[in-house]
C-alpha cells in the first residue's frame, strides 16, 4: 500500500468506526490509524488546544511536523469526535508569522535581542521594584506553567499580583460554587449530558462554543432517546435551532427567572423538602456584598422569593408567565433528571455570583442534584481554566489547592509545602485583573503602582474590557514596561516593550485540566520554530537570574528554588539553560511537587505516570486496594465519591457551615450596570463564534477557519436595521460611551438578536469590540460584564465618537 492509500485507508477506518458507533452497532471495529506503518505518521495523544471541553486528539507527526489530526476514540470526552476547530488544531503551529526570536523595543521599534538579554532585562525590572511587578497569564497556562509562575510570585517575590485571564471568564462560577458548596468546581461530569431528560442552557450556546459536548446530546436524539432542550437566552443562536423551547429574556433578568422558579417550587409545594431539610441551609447577601453572606430562615427565603410571581417575572424579563410556570413544573418533577448548563452568559454578568448561586439554588431546592443527569454544571472556555487558574489558584487572592492568601493557616501550609520561611507569603491579596491593568495604565505618580507586567499565553490587548482604559492607556507612559510572551503578533505585542517567542501546544510538554475535573497530560512532539521557548522555562530562567542578582526570595530554607532540579542520578541539571531544559521532565517534577496541595480540599489529582497512560482522569483520584487509581465522576454523591462517609447519600464535606450542607441563596433581581436609554438605545452583547477561538490569534492563522468567518460583524434585527436605514453588509459605526468601532451589519445571520439588541463577536483584531465594552465587574467575583452595555449605531461618518459622561456605573 502506498503512502497516499494508507492515509486514505486510515481516514476511512476512522470514519467507518465512528459511523458504526453512532448507529449503535455492537462492534465498531478499530478506527485508529496505526503507528508507523507504510511511511505513515507516528501518532501521539494530546488534549485539544482550544476550549474547556477537553477533547482528546491523536496527533500524527512525521519528519518533525504535525501532519494529521484524528479524534481520539479512546477518549470518554469526545469518543473520536472533534469540532471544526479541533480538527484544524495542528495547523495553528504553522502560520507564517510565528514569532521566532525575542524582540526588545528600542527607539520605538522592536529589535531582535538574545534570550540572555531578554531574561536579564526582565529580572532587572523586577529587582528595581519587586512590588510593582505583575504576572498575567490565563487558563491556557499548563498546570506546571501556572504552578511555577504562582510559586515565583507568592513564595519567591512575596507578591500576590498574579492573575489569569480566567478572571474574565469564570470567576463568577468560582464564587458561585464556593459560596454554595464551600469548594469550587462542578460536582457532576459530562455523563450528566448523556443521562438528563431535560437540558436547560442558561445564556449558553454550546452548539458553537462546546460543539462536541452538544453533539453528545444531539446524538442521543438521533438514536431515538427523548431529551428536552430549553434555551434561555437573550438572542437566538445555533443552539436554539435544536431546542424545543426558547425563552428570550431581557438582559440581566435571568436573576428574576431563577427566583421565579424558586417561588413556584415553594408555592406549588413541589420543592424537595427532604433534600432541603437534610442537606441545605438558606443564605442572603450582607451589605456590602460578601462571599458567604448571612443566614436566613426558610420562611424568610419563602417571603423573599414570593414577589417573583410568573406575572412579575414576565413584566421584568419579557418571558411569558406560562413559560416560567413550565420551568417551575419541570423542576418540581422528581421523575425527570435536569441538567443546567452555563458559561459566559451567567459568568460575565455584573451580578455573576448572584445568578450562579441562584441556579445552584433551584437545583438544590428541587433536589435535582447528585444523580447522573441531575446537575448544575458550568463550562469553561479555556483548556485549563479549571486545571490551572482554579486548581493551581493563579489568582491574586488564591493559593494552590483552594487556599486563600488572606487565611493565615493556608499561608502557613503553603510555606511549609514550599519549604520557605514563615511569613514569606504576603497576606494582602493582589489586584484582580481589571484593577491590575487599570493600575498599569495609570501614571505612576497618580497611583499606578504596577510598573512592569509580564503576560503569558493570553492576549489582553484584545480581550480586556474597555481597552482604552485598561490597555491602551499604557501608551506614552515612559516608566511602564510590558513583556508579552506570544506565538504570533497580536494586539498585545503591539504595545509590548519586550516580546518573547513561545512554544505552542505540542511543541512542549503539558498538562491541562478541563471543565469536568479531568486532568490531561501530553508530551512534546515537535520542536518550536526558531528560538521560541517554553513559558515554563522563561519563568524558571527569570527566577535563576533573580537569584544571581541576589534576590533573597529566590531561596527556600535550603537555599534552593524553582530552578533547582536533579536528574534520577541525583545530579543537578541546569534547567535554566535552555539546552538542558529537556534533559529531565520538568513538567513531571513540578506537577508531582504540586500534587500534595490538592489533598486539603479533596481535589486529589492523579500521579503523573497515571496521566501518561490515560486520556485524562477526573479528580478526586484515589488509590485502590489493588494499587490502581480510581477517578470520580460524581462528587458529594455517596454512590461514587470516595470521600463521602459510608452510608450517606449526599455529603457536602467542605460546606461553608461545616455541617455538610450546601447553601440555597436568595439574591434579588437588580438592573444592569449600564442599560439602554434615549441616546444609547441598544443593548450590546459580545461573544464568540464557532470557527474562532477567543481572540483569534491562532484560528485566524488557519485558512479554512479564517475563510469561514473572516471578520467580525454587528448582528442586528432587520426592523432596527430598516429603521436606521442600513442594508445587509453595510459598514456602520457602533458607539458607546467608551468609544466607537466600525463593522459590517449582519441581518438574519447565524444568530438573531431581538429588536433593540446588537451582538458583536470579539475574535477580530481589526474590529476590536472591546474598545467599547463597559468593564463593570461583579462585586464579589470581580469578573467584568461583557454581555451588557448601552450602545448606538450610525452611518459611517455620521457621528463623532460619543464620549459624553454617562450615567454612574455601579462597581
Amino acid at each position: 500500500m502506498n503512502r497516499r492509500d494508507f492515509i486514505k485507508f486510515s481516514a476511512m477506518a476512522a470514519a467507518t468506526a465512528m459511523a458504526r458507533r453512532k448507529s449503535g452497532a455492537a462492534e465498531a471495529g478499530p478506527g485508529e490509524a496505526s503507528n508507523g506503518e507504510g511511511n505513515s505518521p507516528e501518532w501521539h495523544k494530546a488534549p485539544c488546544r482550544f476550549c474547556g471541553t477537553g477533547c482528546h486528539v491523536r496527533v500524527g507527526v512525521q519528519d518533525g511536523r504535525v501532519v494529521a489530526i484524528q479524534g481520539d476514540e479512546k477518549a470518554d470526552v469526545n469518543n473520536g469526535l472533534l469540532c471544526v476547530k479541533g480538527y484544524h488544531v495542528g495547523m495553528i503551529l504553522y502560520g507564517k508569522d510565528r514569532l521566532t526570536q525575542p524582540l526588545l523595543r528600542e527607539g520605538g521599534e522592536l529589535k531582535p535581542v538574545s534570550w540572555d538579554k531578554a531574561i536579564d532585562v526582565i529580572a532587572k525590572r523586577i529587582m528595581e521594584d519587586p512590588d510593582a511587578f505583575g504576572f498575567y497569564g490565563s487558563g491556557q497556562w499548563t498546570i506546571p506553567e501556572g504552578y511555577v509562575a504562582q510559586k515565583l510570585m507568592k513564595a519567591g517575590l512575596s507578591n500576590n499580583h498574579i492573575e489569569p485571564n480566567a478572571r474574565l471568564c469564570m470567576a463568577s462560577a468560582v464564587t458561585g460554587f464556593v459560596s454554595t458548596y464551600g469548594v469550587d468546581e462542578p460536582a457532576g461530569c459530562y455523563q450528566d449530558l448523556d443521562e438528563c431528560d431535560v437540558l436547560i442552557m442558561w445564556g449558553n450556546n454550546p452548539a458553537e462554543m462546546h460543539p462536541v459536548l452538544f453533539s453528545r446530546v444531539i446524538d442521543r436524539r438521533s438514536r431515538g432517546e427523548k431529551v428536552r432542550l430549553i434555551d434561555i437566552s437573550t438572542r437566538r443562536t445555533r443552539t436554539t435551532e435544536f431546542c424545543q423551547d426558547y425563552l428570550e429574556f431581557r438582559p440581566q433578568t435571568d436573576l428574576a427567572i431563577a427566583n421565579g422558579i424558586a417561588h413556584l417550587l415553594i408555592q406549588n409545594g413541589t420543592f424537595d423538602r427532604e433534600f432541603v431539610d437534610r442537606y441545605c441551609h438558606f443564605r442572603q447577601d450582607t451589605e456590602p456584598d460578601s462571599l458567604f453572606g448571612k443566614p436566613m430562615s426558610f420562611e424568610e427565603y419563602r417571603q423573599a422569593v414570593a414577589k417573583y410571581t410568573p406575572e412579575y417575572v414576565e413584566e421584568l424579563s419579557g418571558v411569558p408567565a406560562e413559560k416560567i410556570r413550565m420551568l417551575g413544573e419541570l423542576f418540581g418533577r422528581r421523575d425527570l433528571r435536569i441538567t443546567s448548563l452555563w458559561c459566559m452568559g451567567m459568568n460575565q454578568h455584573s451580578r455573576g455570583t448572584a445568578i450562579n448561586r441562584l441556579v445552584h439554588g433551584i437545583h438544590l431546592l428541587s433536589g435535582h442534584f447528585g444523580r447522573p443527569g441531575d446537575a448544575p454544571t458550568s463550562l469553561t472556555g479555556q483548556p485549563s481554566a479549571c486545571g490551572t487558574a482554579r486548581e493551581v489558584g493563579t489568582l491574586a487572592h488564591a493559593l494552590p489547592g483552594g487556599r486563600l492568601v488572606a487565611k493565615e493557616d493556608h499561608r502557613r501550609q503553603c510555606e511549609k509545602l514550599w519549604n520557605v520561611p514563615e511569613g514569606r507569603i504576603s497576606s494582602k491579596p493582589g489586584y484582580h485583573t481589571v484593577k491590575l491593568w487599570e493600575k498599569f495604565c495609570t501614571p505612576t505618580n497618580q497611583g499606578g503602582d504596577i510598573r512592569t507586567l509580564f503576560v503569558q499565553v493570553t492576549n489582553p490587548g484584545q480581550s480586556l474590557p474597555n481597552l482604552h482604559k485598561h490597555f491602551r492607556g499604557k501608551k506614552g507612559l515612559e516608566d511602564k514596561f510590558l513583556v508579552v510572551s506570544e506565538v504570533y503578533p497580536s494586539a498585545s505585542t503591539e504595545l509590548a516593550d519586550l516580546v518573547l517567542p513561545a512554544s505552542l501546544w505540542v511543541e512542549k510538554n503539558g498538562i491541562f485540566g478541563n471543565s469536568e475535573r479531568r486532568t490531561q497530560q501530553w508530551y512534546k512532539m515537535v520542536e518550536p520554530p526558531g528560538d521560541a521557548r517554553d513559558d515554563c522555562w522563561m519563568t524558571i530562567a527569570i527566577a535563576r537570574r533573580l537569584y544571581e542578582l541576589g534576590h533573597s526570595g529566590m531561596k527556600d530554607r535550603d537555599g534552593q528554588f524553582i530552578f533547582a532540579m536533579k536528574n534520577d542520578e541525583g545530579e543537578e541539571v541546569p534547567i535554566w539553560q535552555w539546552p538542558h531544559y529537556y534533559d529531565i521532565n520538568v513538567d513531571k517534577r513540578l506537577y508531582e511537587e504540586y500534587r500534595p496541595f490538592t489533598w486539603m480540599k479533596h481535589k486529589n489529582v492523579a500521579p503523573y505516570d497515571e496521566l501518561v497512560k490515560a486520556r485524562g482522569l477526573r479528580w478526586p483520584v484515589v488509590e485502590t486496594d489493588d494499587g490502581g487509581w480510581r477517578e470520580t465522576r460524581f462528587r458529594f454523591s455517596g454512590f461514587d465519591d470516595p470521600f463521602v462517609e459510608e452510608g450517606k447519600r449526599i455529603q457536602f464535606y467542605h460546606s461553608v457551615t461545616k455541617d455538610d450542607r450546601a447553601l440555597i441563596w436568595f439574591n434579588p433581581y437588580e438592573p444592569a450596570a449600564e442599560e439602554p436609554d434615549k441616546e444609547f438605545r441598544y443593548w450590546l452583547c459580545t461573544g464568540r463564534v464557532l470557527e474562532h477561538w477567543h481572540t483569534g490569534t491562532m484560528t485566524m492563522r488557519v485558512p479554512p477557519l479564517r475563510r469561514s468567518m473572516p471578520h467580525a460583524y454587528i448582528e442586528m434585527h432587520p426592523d432596527d436595521a430598516a429603521e436606521e436605514g442600513f442594508s445587509n453588509g453595510e459598514v456602520i459605526q457602533l458607539m458607546t460611551r467608551r468609544g466607537q468601532i466600525e463593522a459590517p451589519v449582519w441581518i438574519e445571520g447565524r444568530g438573531r438578536v431581538p429588536r433593540g439588541s446588537l451582538f458583536v463577536p470579539f475574535f477580530d483584531e481589526h474590529r476590536l469590540v472591546n474598545l467599547v465594552t463597559l468593564g463593570a465587574v461583579c462585586p464579589i467575583s470581580k469578573e467584568p460584564d461583557y454581555k451588557k452595555c448601552a450602545a448606538k449605531v450610525g452611518k459611517v461618518g455620521s457621528s463623532t465618537p460619543a464620549m459624553a459622561k454617562g450615567p454612574e456605573v455601579r462597581p
Binding site: 476512522a14 470514519a15 459511523a19 479524534g71 480538527y87 485566524m700 460583524y713
Partner: protein
C-alpha cells in the same frame, strides 16, 4: 494533499436520504464507505487543504444531510498562507460573512 474522514448523518426520512446519497455520488474526490443505518463514512481527498473545507461545507448543506462530523484530517502540505495581521481585510468589506455549516452540528 489533504485527506479528511467524515461521518455524514443522513435524514431519517428514506426519500430525503436517497436524494442525499445520489447527490453525494456526484462529488468528485469523495469515497463512500459502508452505510451504517443512517450514518455514512466518507473520505474526501483534495490537492490542498483549502478546498477540502469547501466540500465539507457543501455536503453539510445538501438536502437530506443532517450534519457532518469530522473524525480525521491529514494536512501535510498545509502551510498556512498568511498571518492574521495585514491579511488584506478591509474596512470597506460588503456583504455578510459567508457563514458555513462547517461544524459537527
Amino acid at each position: 494533499m489533504s485527506v479528511s474522514g467524515l461521518v455524514i448523518t443522513l435524514s431519517e426520512e428514506p426519500s430525503a436520504r436517497d436524494r442525499a446519497l445520489e447527490s453525494l455520488e456526484a462529488y468528485p474526490g469523495i469515497e463512500r464507505g459502508q452505510l451504517s443505518d443512517r450514518w455514512l463514512p466518507v473520505v474526501v481527498e483534495r490537492p490542498d487543504d483549502e478546498s477540502g473545507e469547501a466540500v465539507f461545507r457543501e455536503i453539510s448543506l445538501l438536502p437530506g444531510v443532517e450534519y457532518v462530523d469530522v473524525v480525521f484530517v491529514h494536512f501535510e502540505n498545509a502551510d498556512t498562507k498568511q498571518g492574521a495581521l495585514g491579511n488584506g481585510q478591509t474596512k470597506g468589506m460588503h456583504g455578510s460573512p459567508q457563514v458555513t455549516a462547517a461544524s459537527n452540528r
